[in-house]
């Protein structure tokens, strides 16, 4: 690997500044005494205190986490299973049909997905005769639906990289199909599964457009709450909240990164010792 030129480094730095500038603005003003985003009076933690007194925001935060975790876990399991099945499909037309349909929520604008699910729920609600169908269940269904393609499409390519003979070899050597799946196939597609899970979790946490259409008044997620707040002028306690979210995700990512690196080093040294033998 050659060393990066100075211009490459500057270019990378500029883009990172562009990506982070608005975030740092929010973090900076979350510590501002005054309720202003043009003048920084002096350092204060008062908006963090305000935030924890705002029960609606705290409740929305809890709702968002519950929704993100449940939808991404379900989508990862369902999606990984689907990817295994799709990979094993011998019939070309069936495979193409399933993959094309899977692509629809990704290709489709979020707003269309949101609108289409809302209309489905409203129509079913009308037929069954329930008023106010929109709530946690509809949000969960919608989130699982838009997460699924991301899981499937990040798992599927892993099969191409995997040697298909391995699974067969494991079975020839006496593994049951289930054993060969959990011991051979799953470990080799695991990076894809993890990527899919992380993507789902992120998308779910951050989703506003689809949630906006399929949520009801009782179950508000954080993005929906933020939306209703940014219609007026936002008070800095929202900046405080975004700072907390940002910092906790940063910490989480650093931890994941460290543990992954440790795992990789282990594998590297293992391989190395094997080669030495």
């Amino acid at each position: 690997m050659k060393k990066l030129s100075i211009s490459s480094k500057i270019y990378m730095a500029l883009i990172l500044i562009f990506l982070y500038a608005p975030i740092f603005v929010l973090i900076f003003f979350s510590f501002n005494e005054a309720n202003s985003t043009s003048v920084f009076t002096h350092f204060s933690l008062k908006w963090y205190g305000e935030l924890f007194r705002d029960t609606n925001t705290i409740k929305a935060l809890k709702n968002t986490l519950v929704l993100a975790i449940s939808s991404s876990v379900i989508a990862t399991i369902l999606g990984t299973a689907a990817a295994v099945g799709i990979n094993a499909m011998r019939s070309k037309p069936l495979k193409t049909t399933v993959l094309t349909t899977t692509n629809i929520p990704m290709m489709n604008p979020d707003i269309v997905t949101g609108v289409s699910m809302m209309l489905l729920f409203v129509l079913v609600g009308k037929l069954v005769g329930i008023k106010g169908v929109l709530g946690f269940q509809t949000l969960l269904i919608a989130h699982i639906t838009f997460n699924l393609p991301y899981v499937i499409l990040s798992v599927l390519p892993r099969f191409k990289q995997m040697d298909n003979n391995l699974a067969e070899a494991a079975q020839d050597l006496g593994c049951t199909p289930a054993q060969s799946f959990f011991r051979v196939v799953l470990p080799s597609i695991m990076p894809g599964v993890l990527t899919g899970f992380i993507m789902s979790f992120t998308l779910s946490l951050d989703d506003f457009v689809i949630s906006y259409f399929v949520s009801g008044p009782e179950f508000q997620t954080l993005p929906i709450r933020i939306y209703s707040m940014t219609k007026k002028r936002v008070t800095p306690d929202i900046y405080a909240l975004s700072t907390i979210i940002f910092v906790s995700i940063l910490v989480l990512l650093i931890l994941i990164n460290i543990s992954q690196r440790k795992g990789e080093n282990k594998i590297k040294t293992n391989n190395f010792t094997k080669e030495m033998e």
Partner: protein
Amino acid sequence: MKKKASLSSKLISSPYIVWMIIFIVFPLLVVAYYSFTDMSGNFTLNNFNNLSRYAPIFTRSIWFGLVATLISLVISYPLAYIISQIPISKQKTIVLLVMLPMWMNFLLRTYSWMLLLEDTGIINNFLVKMGFSRLKLINTEAAVILGMVYNYLPYMILPLYSVMSKMDKSVIEAARDLGGNTTTVISKVVFPLSLPGVISGITMVFVPSVSTFYISQKLGGGKFPLIGDVIEMKFLVSYNYNVGATLSLVLMVLILICLFFMNKFADSEQGGIII
């Protein structure tokens, strides 16, 4: 033995297939149903006959989306290439840094740009302090496009990077050894090999840009309503589900057509390479 295994692997995807039919295919049929009916549920084509009044908004949405996508591609391509050239351990860190802003709420990120671009916002205050005059930044077309580029840039960088990092480095080296200069190597080797990443990057930026409805409200000040704004209004302000469904259907079809042509283009490019 093999047949048996593939049968159980086939069955494993059936819960998903059922889910897909109910929650992906069926909702689209419901959208079609609403767009061909009136408020009381009778068949009508009026929703489509009145579409021409939304034509300027559709045109603007597609235009803004195209510009934002092109800018994102131009910015991201060199970056993805640079990232793919650095040591693997550092690559991961940079990719995480690129992804991290996506965890920050999209609405807040956009709102923050409003704070930056306002007439008495951070950038303008800075300009005044430096002795320059204020610039009109917010409520312009440029601000809306900036919001799109900013919000969807990671979606362009990541697929490009993922293709480039998997690229066989020896192919690039071979091209260099055979006398290709940097421009030739990039245009004849790197770019064609990265095309799948380019296509998915374009898709992932273009689609949300065309259909966005928050960015234009906040950064365009309502002066440049996009098709997403109109759809949102139909559904959640004026409760006209039928017209809203029609606009959604048209938006969907327009985007599918765009994507279809793009994939065609990509296929023919790849065909050219084989020849």
